[in-house]
C-alpha cells in the first residue's frame, strides 16, 4: 500500500489481440501486499482478458509481468500457481460432478506413500478450511452441483486460500450470489486482506466493489482509463471513468483516458 515497498504484482504495457482485435492494449496495473484493487469496466472492456493473462489462461503478445519486482514467466495456469497466484473465475470454475474436497485439491491432490489418492487427509483439510470459511458448510460428500451458489463460491475461495495464495484474483466474485452471501464474501475479503494477501477484484458493477477496494483501475475498450485511490474519488466520478472515460482530478490518467478538449 505504501509506495516504498515493491509491488506484489506489476503488469506493464500488456497487449493481447485475438484475430486482429485488440482486446487489451498497452495496459499497466499494479497490486501491493494486503491491498484490494478493483478492476472496473463494462463487459468487454478487457478486464477479464487482462487478468487471465496474469492467471495463465492467455498468453500475452507484449508486455512484462513482475512478481515482487522480478520478471515472471507465466505461460499456463500451473506457472501462475507457482507464483502464488490463485484465481476464482466468474463462471465458478469447479468440476460440478465431484465433491468439495476433490475440487479443492483438483490438480494438486494429496497422495499416500503408495501414490494413491489420500482422500481422508484431503477431506480432513477440506473440513478444516471450510469450517473456517463457512461454518455452516456440511455437505462434504456431495457433488458440488448439489450446492447453492454461495456454497460453491466458498468452495472456490477455499480452493484458492488452501494453497497459501499470495495473489488472489476474483472475477465477479459475487455475481452469482444473493445479498447475504455477498456480505459473507465481503467479510472474507477483509479477512484475507489482513493476512497480507493482495486481491484483484474484477467487476462491471462499481457498487459491488467500491467499499471493499483500496484502489480502482478503470478499463475501457481494452485500455486503462486511469486509476485512483477510493478515498480520492467518488463513486460518481468512477462511474464517469467507466462510461465516458473521463478522468477526475483525484485520479491518475492512463492511455485510455478521454482526450480533454
Amino acid at each position: 500500500m505504501t509506495d516504498q515497498t515493491t509491488a506484489l504484482v506489476e503488469m506493464k504495457n500488456i497487449s493481447i489481440s485475438f484475430g486482429g482485435i485488440h482486446a487489451v492494449e498497452n495496459a499497466s496495473i499494479d497490486l501491493f501486499p494486503g491491498e484490494v484493487v478493483a478492476l472496473l469496466g463494462h463487459n468487454g472492456a478487457g478486464k477479464s482478458t487482462l487478468i487471465k493473462i496474469l492467471s495463465g489462461a492467455y498468453r500475452r503478445d507484449a508486455g512484462d509481468i513482475l512478481i515482487n519486482g522480478e520478471d515472471a514467466d507465466i505461460r499456463n495456469p500451473r506457472d501462475a500457481k507457482k507464483y502464488g497466484i490463485e484465481t476464482i473465475y466468474q463462471t465458478l470454475a469447479v468440476a460440478d460432478n465431484v465433491d468439495a474436497a476433490a475440487n479443492l485439491y483438483l490438480g494438486r491432490e494429496l497422495q499416500t506413500k503408495w501414490g494413491t489418492l489420500d482422500d481422508v487427509a484431503m477431506e480432513a483439510n477440506t473440513r478444516e478450511v471450510m469450517g473456517r470459511l463457512n461454518p455452516n458448510f456440511k455437505r462434504f460428500k456431495e457433488p458440488v452441483k448439489a450446492l447453492s451458489g454461495g456454497q460453491r463460491q466458498s468452495v472456490a475461495i477455499a480452493r484458492a486460500i488452501l494453497f497459501d495464495a499470495r495473489i488472489l484474483i476474483m472475477d465477479e466474485p459475487t455475481a452469482a450470489l444473493g445479498p447475504q452471501e455477498t456480505a459473507q464474501v465481503g467479510d472474507l475479503i477483509k479477512q484475507l486482506k489482513r493476512e497480507g494477501i493482495g486481491i484483484f477484484l474484477i467487476s462491471h458493477d462499481i457498487h459491488d466493489v467500491f467499499d471493499l477496494a483500496d484502489r480502482v483501475f478503470v478499463m475501457k475498450n481494452g485500455k486503462v482509463v486511469g486509476h485512483a485511490r477510493t478515498g480520492d474519488v467518488t463513486k460518481d466520478e468512477v462511474l464517469g471513468m467507466i462510461i465516458l472515460g473521463k478522468v477526475p482530478p483525484g485520479a491518475v490518467p492512463g492511455p485510455g483516458a478521454m482526450k480533454s478538449a
Partner: protein, 441 residues
C-alpha cells in the same frame, strides 16, 4: 470419487444426525450407503434371470448356463470398463470392435504362424509373447487415436469411426481374410472351457481371499474415518455389508463349482489318468473360468485407477467441467491420450479372451462389439453427457446385455428379433435412468 455416481443416496448418511428419519428401508440404505441405482440394476438383472428361467422351463438359472453366461460376458465386460472412462470425458470410442479384431489377428498370427517357426510348436513362452504383442499393438492404436483427438482436435466420434473402418480393413489385410487357427495350447486357457477353469479347490481359495479382502477393505475404511473423526456407518451396517459381500462371492463360487466337466471329457480324463469310472459318472468341478477371473481382475484394477489414482480423478473432473480442469492445471490432453491408450490395451485383453475362446482369429471377430460395449457402459449408468459412471456398473451392464441375448437364444428366438429386443431394451434402460436421475435431483 466412487461417490460421484451415487451421491444423492448417501448424502444423509454423511451428514449423519443423531436421529434417523424415514422408513426402515430408507434408513437401511442410508446407513449401509448402498447405491440404490446399482441396486436397481441388480434387481433388473434378477428379474431378467427369473423371467427367462420361467419362460425356458428351468433352463436359465442352472450352474451350466450361469457359468457360460459369465464366460460370454467377459470380453465385452473388459472393454466396457475402459469405455466408462472414455464416455465420462465426453468422448466415444466406436473402434473397439475393430481394434479387438486387429489385435486378435496379430496375436493369432504371432502364435500360430510366426512364433512356432521361431521357437518350435507348443513352446511355453509363445502365449506370453503373443499376448504381450497384442497388448502393445492395442496400446499403440489407442495412443494414436488419443493423439489425433487431443492434439489435432478431431472429434473422437470421427477418429474412432475412421478407426472402425481402418482396423477392420487391417484385420483383413494381415492374412488376406483367412482365418488363423488353432491357437497355442496355453493361450487357449484364456478362453475358458474345461481346461481354462481353475477347478473347485482353487475357486474356493479365490473366493475366500475375496471375502478376506472385503473384510479388510471395510475395516480399513472404518479405521481411516475414525482417525480423522469423520462420521461413520453404524456398526451393524458394516456387518451387513460384509455378510452380503461374502454371500455373493461364495455363492458365485458354489455355482461355478456346481458345473461339472462334460461326461465325455471326464471319461477321457479318467482313462488317461487310470481312474476307475465310478457309478453315476465322474464329477469334476469346472470352477471359475480364467476369462472371468481376468475380467474381474481388470474390473478391480480399473476401479482402482478410476477412484484411487490422480489419473482417475482427472478423468472425472474433465468430464464434469473441462474448462475448470484445464484451469486447475490438469494436462487434459495427455489425460485423453492415456484414456484411449488404456482403451486400446483393454481391447487387446478382450481380443485374447475371444480368440482363445473361439480357438481362432477371424476377420469378423468383434464386429458390433463397439455397440455392445457402449450399450453396457450406458446401461451401467455412464452418462453420455460426461462426468458420471462406474466401472462396476458398466460390467453389470455387460452382464445384463449378455443375459438378454443368451436367454433369447435359449428361448429359440431368431437373431433379427434378438437384435430388436436388445435395441429396445437399451433405449428403455436409458430412459428409465433419465427418469431416475430427474427424480433424485
Amino acid at each position: 470419487m466412487a461417490d460421484t455416481a451415487h451421491s444423492t443416496t448417501n448424502t444423509a448418511a454423511s451428514a449423519k444426525s443423531g436421529k434417523a428419519e424415514g422408513n426402515p428401508l430408507a434408513r437401511f440404505f442410508r446407513a449401509t450407503e448402498i447405491d440404490t441405482r446399482m441396486l436397481g440394476m441388480v434387481g433388473a438383472l434378477l428379474i431378467i434371470w427369473v423371467g427367462f428361467h420361467i419362460l425356458t422351463g428351468g433352463l436359465f438359472l442352472t450352474p451350466r448356463n450361469l457359468w457360460n453366461l459369465s464366460v460370454q460376458t467377459a470380453s465385452v465386460a473388459v472393454m466396457a470398463t475402459g469405455m466408462v472412462l472414455v464416455i465420462v470425458t465426453r468422448n466415444i470410442d466406436l473402434s473397439v470392435g475393430s481394434i479387438l479384431g486387429f489385435t486378435g489377428m496379430v496375436m493369432g498370427v504371432l502364435q500360430a504362424r510366426f512364433l512356432p517357426s521361431l521357437l518350435g510348436f507348443d513352446h511355453p513362452a509363445i502365449w506370453v509373447i503373443a499376448l504381450a504383442g497384442g497388448l502393445v499393438v492395442g496400446g499403440l492404436i489407442g495412443t494414436l487415436h488419443g493423439m489425433i483427438i487431443a492434439f489435432l482436435g478431431v472429434p473422437s466420434f470421427i477418429v474412432t469411426l475412421g478407426g472402425l473402418l481402418v482396423w477392420r480393413g487391417a484385420t483383413w489385410f494381415v492374412t488376406s481374410g483367412q482365418t488363423v487357427a488353432p491357437m497355442d495350447v496355453n493361450f487357449r486357457l484364456m478362453g475358458g472351457g474345461t481346461e481354462g477353469s481353475i477347478g473347485a479347490t482353487w475357486s474356493w481359495v479365490v473366493g475366500i481371499i475375496a471375502c478376506l479382502a472385503i473384510i479388510a477393505a471395510i475395516i480399513n475404511a472404518r479405521h481411516q474415518r475414525k482417525r480423522f473423526h469423520f462420521p461413520r456407518r453404524p456398526i451393524w451396517a458394516e456387518y451387513v455389508l460384509v455378510a452380503l459381500g461374502c454371500f455373493i462371492v461364495l455363492g458365485a463360487v458354489m455355482i461355478a463349482n456346481d458345473y461339472y466337466w462334460p461326461i465325455n471329457i471326464a471319461r477321457r480324463y479318467a482313462e488317461a489318468n487310470n481312474i476307475p469310472w465310478p457309478e453315476g459318472g465322474l464329477l469334476i468341478s469346472q470352477g471359475i473360468a480364467i476369462p472371468v477371473l481376468m475380467a474381474i481382475g481388470v474390473g478391480i484394477v480399473m476401479t482402482f485407477i478410476a477412484t484411487r489414482l490422480r489419473f482417475g480423478r482427472y478423468v472425472f473432473a474433465i468430464g464434469g467441467n473441462p474448462e475448470a480442469a484445464e484451469l486447475a492445471g490438469i494436462k487434459t490432453r495427455w489425460v485423453t491420450v492415456k484414456i484411449f491408450a488404456l482403451m486400446g490395451v483393454l481391447c487387446a485383453i478382450a481380443a485374447a479372451i475371444s480368440t482363445a475362446r473361439l480357438n481362432a482369429a477371424t476377420n469378423a471377430q468383434g464386429e458390433l462389439d463397439e455397440l455392445y460395449t457402449i450399450a453396457a457402459a450406458v446401461i451401467g449408468g455412464t452418462s453420455l453427457s460426461g462426468g458420471m459412471g462406474t466401472i462396476a456398473g458398466a460390467m453389470l451392464g455387460a452382464l445384463v446385455m449378455q443375459s438378454l441375448q443368451s436367454g433369447m437364444v435359449l428361448l429359440g428366438i431368431d437373431t433379427p428379433f434378438q437384435r430388436i429386443v436388445v435395441g429396445v431394451v437399451l433405449v428403455m434402460a436409458v430412459w428409465l435412468d433419465t427418469v431416475y436421475r430427474a427424480r433424485s435431483k
